[in-house]
Symmetry: C2
Subunit: 166 residues, 2 copies
């Protein structure tokens, strides 16, 4: 017997972290549950900002009770310093998921775009529109929330694939 | 009235994190309390390793009850991927400190060496020997633990400086 599965998608950021929760129904249909952002306060010392990010995503997990988490891999930018900051944020986000007994899956931005839009060169606007259509949303979600929903949808597609090929 | 202050020094690593706890007595003398390493298991998935690092340092904090934490800044190596991994580990280490209400101070490897050995070009062996002498240890601590004790000593010296100049 198949159960519905709730997936939390995370688009990590040291300032703004997008999150999106979807439900994969036993028949395979994807249902929107929630989306939004977790912000950290730029004027606070970095350690306190990490706590804001951690506490913020813990709140989302407790509220929506996902079974699994999918998080976007870091895009290795030329700016090593911002990649490093992002690494700190990503570390506490992954910790929050594992502390709540979620399995954590990681996907590169390329895989997410290929899975959701069909090609890796898709821009943020295309992802947004595709997410709106796939999840039958009444409006366009913000960029960060939409990227997070895309990671969740990507994971749902991968689960299907694993199942079919398993 | 001055109170003794306990300082936790951390030398972060995604595989081995060194820690060192010292006590700064009200007269300014530095006393060794404990040192060691927190390891993560290379064969485990990265999210679980992050939890090992987080839980390990939390245990050290609960056991030794430091008042403040000092952590070494990441050395920006040419290998961006390993710097990024280190960022994840550092993120959960900082989170552990702030979750236990410690203030967190960050020092570059250069500052630590200058403060402990007297010049920024010191190698790991020189740091080890200076730490043994400064804290009147009977033996040489391991490299990771010794680096962590050095960060703690560096912070103790900075506190003295701040007080004198304040």
């Amino acid at each position: 017997m198949d159960f519905n599965s709730r997936i939390l998608g995370i688009d990590p950021g040291s300032r703004i972290t997008g999150y999106g929760v979807i439900e994969k129904e036993s028949g395979g249909r994807l249902k929107f549950v929630a989306c939004g952002v977790v912000k950290s306060t730029p004027s606070l010392p970095f350690p306190e900002r990490l706590m804001e990010i951690y506490d913020g995503i813990c709140e989302v997990i407790v509220k929506h009770g996902p079974d699994e988490a999918a998080i976007e891999d870091v895009f290795m930018s030329k700016n090593a310093m911002s990649a490093l900051k992002l690494g700190h944020a990503r570390g506490v986000l992954i910790l929050a998921a594992i502390k709540h007994h979620l399995t954590v899956h990681e996907y590169t931005p390329l895989t997410v775009k290929q899975s959701v839009v069909g090609h890796g060169g898709a821009d943020k606007r295309q992802v947004q529109h595709m997410i709106k259509s796939l999840l039958s949303l009444s409006g366009l979600p913000g960029h960060d929330a939409s990227d997070a929903l895309a990671v969740a949808v990507c994971h749902a597609n991968m689960m299907r694939f694993e199942k079919e090929s398993g």
